[in-house]
Assembly symmetry: C2
Homo-oligomer: 401 residues x 2
């Protein structure tokens, strides 16, 4: 992408100064001047505001990996322990929550079994109960919470912070998640799709220098998260990456299967965890859920093997189209099905992508397994939340207000 | 998308100061300080360098839409007539070139009939002949050329400035276009896909506030250009937007048609200008090219009507997948076939998109015809080139060197 011709517009705010500390670690006043091009008086003014609010501290006074003894005098640092972030990675049947520092580093964790279709109030009660446990365990009051982040298995209007027309999250449609938390915590609330959090985490953890990345989640359902220009790409409404509901025509003349979304013939209806369970049951296997179906597949069951071969081919077709449209450098395969049966899927995916997409798009393409596995959602939510909470525009408003 | 936490890093350069003038027009020194947050001494230093190189001038001394009489004293402006940009919009069978000011505003134009498959040297000779005509006509020497931009109907490695494995541009594969021009002009050379230039032009001209836009070109071939975050999204290698070669299975049991790219069953092999010509000829119609085929279709020929109905449906399926992945706010339909038979195509496209993509992605989606028509490529190339030539990093290097 070309440089942004508007990059020079707008005065560099306290938030921009804070961003230097967040991304580069402890800095002297002179280093901040050098990196921002701001005058000494502007830097001093911004720094004073950040110091007054406790977001920046003299470097010796904050916990860090580097021992404070021996640190050059006059350094300042982001005060990552000034408060905490709370995040929840909500799945269809379980959730995981964590208490994080202000950089988004995951600390204490808790988890619970839930049914996401029991609705937002029931699920958020569980989330908040675990949040309270984490705050108690760490001796932090609710007032120390600087931000709350949720990632969920459904379409999200990111700007509004609501789930919209979700196939499986019964009762969540446009539920006011922010309002629910606002009664309990005085801080911003971010809601995102699980696949966006996963994509962001994989990018930061394993592929930080890659400009374009596609995270394909093959779990109970199928979805994808897109990194473009190093950031999460959400599209105009937050609906980007909806690869699970592209419609296939398999060309074999069979009736297309009904999908959870109400349409027929979606990729997910052929090649997901729930479709595997459905097909194994239809073949007389007594499997109670996705884990059991994957366990049966791992024993070499021929019906499961047939399903996975076909799923690999169909996923491959969809990934080939995504590669043609998005030209990612890396495709990351994550989710429960990919973790358990990735080897059986990846051959089909590779074959279709290399056969169908342009040589220019595949010559340097990597197709790799998830580096973070089941932790990707939680880790990514925390990192995304830290960026939202400390976005330069928000920090500016915070210090002004 | 979230704010960039790294936005504050790196000193604001002379290029950033120039960007203020380029995007906002004439400014006083105080206004530049206010908009950049830079100190008076830094602004003065940057401005002196820009004045010394003639890229910025006291506002009264440059041509502009606003009369210089009555302009507030002490204003400075980007010197858009300090030099010129030369651009060429290269098609399969014709090309158009223009002389532009440094903002990328198209001025004098010339065009020629070519065969792009005659190879780069033959085509570039024509381009350069017309460039010389434009320079002569405007009384400008080659030394006044600040940048050269080409857009072409094939895959482009944007960083390298080369065409890579193009289906129809015989002889162009990795040809050193920059080297060819370097012997003739002492300036940067940009090469891009035609659809990227078209997408950029439509965005700037008709949808400047839209964050995510998909430009679908249905001409002799089929391709797309993507705007994400207000910029051209090219993917990791410049191959993004390759929608013409996603593979369809139409499910009707027929053998998939051979595509120009060497694969079979590509969208383009069913639903492009060249496929229309092929099918009309197979049905006994004596059409010599895409224009003739479209003229026949305009008379109500039943074979052509059948083709267009099917093409609309197949294009609609592919656009639905692109909408699901990219969630654009606007889909622009351009190219020769869309211009001539757009009404017949758009019903099929609309139907498939609204049936298949998420409600969240379609509720505010607009599907609209091109605002710039056949001028989109040329206009977009000039705007893209201006951004490349005056990218802050390049301007900094230019002034330092």
């Amino acid at each position: 992408m070309q440089d942004d011709p508007n990059a020079g517009n707008g005065p560099a705010s306290a938030g921009d100064v804070l961003a230097v500390f967040r991304s580069l670690g402890p800095q002297t006043r002179a280093e901040v001047m050098e990196r921002t091009g701001l005058s000494r008086s502007t830097v001093t003014q911004r720094l004073d505001a950040l110091l007054a609010h406790g977001l920046v501290v003299p470097a010796g006074e904050q916990r860090d990996d580097v021992p404070s003894r021996g640190r050059p005098a006059g350094q300042f640092a982001f005060h990552r322990d000034r408060g905490v972030l709370l995040v929840a990675d909500v799945g269809a049947s379980s959730l995981r929550v964590a208490l994080c520092d202000l950089l988004g580093t995951v600390g204490l964790e808790r988890s619970a079994v839930i049914d996401v279709a029991s609705g937002p109030r029931a699920v958020l009660d569980v989330v908040d109960g675990l949040f309270r446990e984490l705050l108690d365990a760490s001796g932090r009051p609710a007032a120390a919470v600087h931000g709350i982040g949720l990632d969920v298995p459904g379409p999200v209007d990111f700007a509004a912070g609501t789930v919209v027309s979700p196939p499986i999250m019964t009762g969540w449609d446009r539920f006011d998640i922010r309002g629910w938390f606002a009664e309990r915590y005085p801080c911003p609330v971010m809601v995102d799709k699980d696949v966006n959090a996963m994509a962001f985490a994989e990018h930061r953890a394993a592929h930080p220098d890659v400009d374009a990345l596609l995270m394909l989640k093959i779990g109970t359902g199928v979805g994808s998260g897109i990194i473009a220009g190093g950031r999460v790409y959400r599209g105009a409404d937050g609906a980007a990456g909806d690869i699970g509901h592209v419609q296939l025509d398999t060309g074999d003349g069979s009736d297309p299967p009904l999908c959870r979304c109400g349409n027929v013939g979606c990729l997910e209806a052929y090649a997901s965890g729930w479709a595997l369970v459905r097909d194994l049951r239809a073949a007389g296997r007594d499997v109670q859920g996705v884990d059991a179906a994957l366990a049966l597949a791992a024993t070499g069951d021929p019906e499961a093997a047939r399903f996975l071969r076909r799923a690999g081919r169909l996923l491959g077709g969809a990934v080939a189209e995504a590669v043609s449209l998005l030209n990612p450098r890396v495709v990351v395969l994550g989710g429960q099905v990919a973790a358990s049966a990735g080897d059986q899927l990846v051959a089909g995916i590779r074959e279709l992508v290399y056969r169908r997409s342009l040589p220019l798009a595949t010559a340097r393409l990597q197709i790799v397994p998830s580096a973070l596995g089941t932790r990707a959602g939680l880790v990514g939510s925390a990192l995304l939340l830290a960026d939202v909470v400390f976005a330069p525009s928000r920090v500016g408003a915070l210090l002004a207000g």
